[in-house]
Structure formats: structure tokens, C-alpha cells
């Protein structure tokens, strides 16, 4: 049995919708991982121990266990204690928090790398510690961390395929549905791969533009 790509156009709509959901979940989880990463980083570096210890335990849990398991835990596990999340929300939370922990590591290193003179310049003007952190240190740390954090975002896009197992109709699951009707796995997985690749190119182009835009302000 040879390859037959002529079946693809009939399922183009499904694949496109799947790609749309993949983009949606990547964007939402990306935003959560970005702000979550900042919050975790600040708590890890400056938080009171009553906040710091739980966050550290949480980070340990998220870095030390498989993302797939975390998704199962959030989607199927939480129902038992009365928290019934829609699959999309569970996916965003799982992916977002997982990558927030990785982003937090980057942001922490980047906060510590901000020049001591920046603190002194700000404190000398009369800014408090918190004001200095918010207005001077974190904005600089975030700018410095955008290139390596971009790599995390690309990993997030690829790992978003995992939310197919909790039933989010994203690109991988859309391809599987098409396959279950046509029995043409090679064609549809290949088509899905091409879609991932195109979204990835767009993401990389966006990141490069962002890097260029902040170049002068670093």
C-alpha cells in the first residue's frame, strides 16, 4: 500500500482547527509560565520562608516528575477532591506551571546577574527595595532572559501535544481522529508535523523580532 496524500484536503479543516487549539494552549500556557516564572523567582529569592519552602517543594515536584503524570493528576486527580476542570484549562495549568518552574530558574539567575550598581542607583534616588525590584531589576532581568526563555517556549509548543491524552482537541489529537477514519497514519502525522513546524517558525520569528526590539534597551 503506497502513500496517498489526496485524502488530506478533506481533513484540512480538522487539522487547521487542531493547529488553532495548539496555538491557543501554547499562548495561554506561555503567558502563565512567564508570569508564574517571575512570581516563583521573586519568592525563591526574596520570599519569606513560609512562601519560599512550599514554592521550592512545588518546583521540585514539577521538575522531578513527568509532565504527562502532572497532566493526569490535574485533570483526573483533582476531580476526586471536587475540582473539575475543563480539559483545556487543566492543560493550560499543567503546561503553564511546568514551564513556569523552568522559567523561574532562568529568571532567578538573571535577577542575580543584574549589576549591583543598578540597585545602588535606584536606592540612592530614594526607591524602596520593592520599588527597585519592580521597576529596575525585574524589567532588566526579564529582558536578559528572553532569548533562553524562547527556547522554553518552543519546548512548550512541542510538549503541548501531551494534552491530547486528556482530550484537548489540539493538533496531535486532530491528526489521530483523521487517522482513525482514514487509516493513513503516515500522511496525517506528517501533515501534523508540518503544521507544528510552521507554528514553530512563526514563534521563532516573533521571538527574534522581540529580541531586536529590546536590543537598544539592554
Amino acid at each position: 500500500m503506497g502513500l496517498d496524500f489526496s485524502v488530506l484536503p478533506d481533513y484540512f479543516g480538522i487539522l487547521l482547527m487542531g493547529a488553532g487549539w495548539t496555538v491557543a494552549i501554547t499562548v495561554c500556557a506561555g503567558i502563565l509560565s512567564f508570569f508564574g516564572g517571575i512570581v516563583f523567582a521573586v519568592i525563591a529569592l526574596y520570599g519569606h520562608w513560609t512562601l519560599r519552602l512550599p514554592v521550592r517543594g512545588f518546583a521540585f515536584l514539577f521538575m522531578g516528575t513527568p509532565l504527562l503524570l502532572q497532566l493526569f493528576l490535574i485533570y483526573f486527580g483533582l476531580i476526586q477532591i471536587g475540582i473539575d476542570l475543563p480539559a483545556f484549562v487543566a492543560g493550560v495549568i499543567g503546561l503553564g506551571l511546568h514551564f513556569a518552574v523552568y522559567n523561574s530558574e532562568l529568571i532567578q539567575a538573571s535577577i542575580l546577574a543584574v549589576d549591583k550598581g543598578q540597585y545602588e542607583g535606584a536606592r540612592t534616588l530614594g526607591l524602596s527595595r520593592g520599588q527597585t525590584l519592580r521597576r529596575i531589576v525585574i524589567p532588566q532581568a526579564v529582558r536578559a532572559v528572553i532569548p533562553p526563555m524562547g527556547n522554553n517556549m518552543i519546548a512548550l509548543l512541542k510538549d503541548s501535544a501531551l494534552v491530547s491524552v486528556i482530550g484537548v482537541m489540539e493538533l496531535t489529537l486532530a491528526a489521530q481522529q483523521a487517522i482513525s477514519r482514514t487509516y493513513r497514519p503516515f500522511e496525517f502525522y506528517l501533515a501534523a508535523a508540518v503544521c507544528y513546524y510552521i507554528v514553530n517558525l512563526a514563534l521563532e520569528a516573533g521571538l527574534r523580532r522581540l529580541e531586536r526590539r529590546i536590543a537598544a534597551s539592554r
Binding site: 549589576d115 550598581g117 543598578q118 545602588e120 542607583g121 535606584a122 536606592r123 540612592t124 534616588l125 530614594g126 526607591l127 524602596s128 527595595r129 520599588q131 521597576r135 529596575i136 524589567p139 532588566q140 529582558r143 529590546i214 537598544a216 534597551s217 539592554r218
Partner: protein, 253 residues
Amino acid sequence: MTDQAFVTIKNAAKSYGSLEVLKDINLTVSRGQIVAIIGPSGSGKSTLLRAINELDPLSSGEVWLEDVQVNKKLPHRQYEAHVNHVRQNIGMVFQHFNLFPHLTVRGNITLAPRMLKGLSEAEADRLAEEQLAKVGLSEKIDEYPSRLSGGQKQRVAIARALAMKPKVMLFDEATSALDPELVEEVNLVMKQLAEEHMTMIIVTHEMDFAASVCDRVLFMDQGVVVEEGPPSVIFQNPAHERTRNFLRKHLSR
């Protein structure tokens, strides 16, 4: 100009473990006075300057700005609030400028007045324009610091400090990191401030500048003030051997 004490340092001492970097220093600066602190590196002059705004708090002794004790012993929270407040009256200029690279020149100047003094955007903009005109950099208002030369950065840093309308300005080797041809533009701004009777305390390695601008010169070595007096005395007729040795090395360059 009055002779009343404006900045007062009493029995200032500081040590890191067993290393004493400041030993019983007393200094009184009156309003509008310009004092230069000179001395070899490691003499404690920067540490003394940084003690005035609590960047490097003293181990013992007192720092006063007019009738307010800067290094008041207070519970942590109150101390922070107190220090943040007095620092608004003490401008400081650093060797490495410490401009905020993520903000434009305008942002650098308006940040603190807007956050701490509640200026509106329009008021803060006017303030920035005013201060930039003073240091001759009006056309750079929307540039980022990375696009400026060292001399321009330092002039923006001075404008940023002045925008808080400080009562005293501290200069910590403001021209030491600059290429020689850029030193003069910063010196000119400082001279202009001197003419406006800004009270200034200047740590410097530039003897010519100290001699031409300052009312008084302190020579420090190994954590003590070896001698102080008007520049004419310190530079032409110093009383101490250590001062003579230091000046010989520095003036011959």
C-alpha cells in the same frame, strides 16, 4: 551662604571584621560648600561618601543632614522608610553612571520624581527637559543610555540626581571611568553646579579640578583624615609628609 552645618559627620568609624576602613572621622560641610576628598585608593574616601546616604552604613558614629540624623537607629521597617525619605535629599553620582538601561533618558530622569513625589507625566516631562537643558543634552531625551557616550551618560546621571532637587550632591569618582577627552564636559557641569552654590562632596583623583572648584580639600589615608584645608594650602603647602608623597605621585602625572 551661611556657616551653619549642613552635612555633619561625627566620630565616624567603620570596620569589616578586624579591618578598620574608617577611624573616627569628623567632617562638617556648610550650605553651598564644595568639599573634595582625595587620597590613595583604599584610603576609605568612597566608603565615607557612601556612608553619607547609608549605602555603606557606618559601624559607629553619626551622619546628619541639617537637623535630621541620616543613620538613625530604628526598627527595620521604620529605618527603611526613613532612609528612603532622606535619600531623596541626597543626590549621588557614581563612577559607572548606573543609568537604567531599559529606560530612555526621559524615563531615567522622571522615574523617581513620578514614583516618589507624585509628579504628573507632564510635570515630570517638563522637569526632565529642564534638567537635560542644564547638562546640555536636550536632544537626547528619547535615546536609550546604550546610545550615549560615557560623558553623556554621566551628564544624564547628574540630571537624574538633580531632578529630585537634592540638598546635597555626592560625586564618587564621577570622571574616573571616562576617556580623557570626555572628562571636561562632566567637569563643566559640576563647575556650573558649583556656581549655583549646590552643596557638593566630591571624591576625586583630579587634583586640578579639586584645586579650581573646591572650597576645602580633605586628604585621607588609611581610614583617617590626614589633613584638611583650603586647596591653596593642601596643594601648595601641605603640612604632612603623607600628603606631600601622595601629591608628588599625582601631580607629576
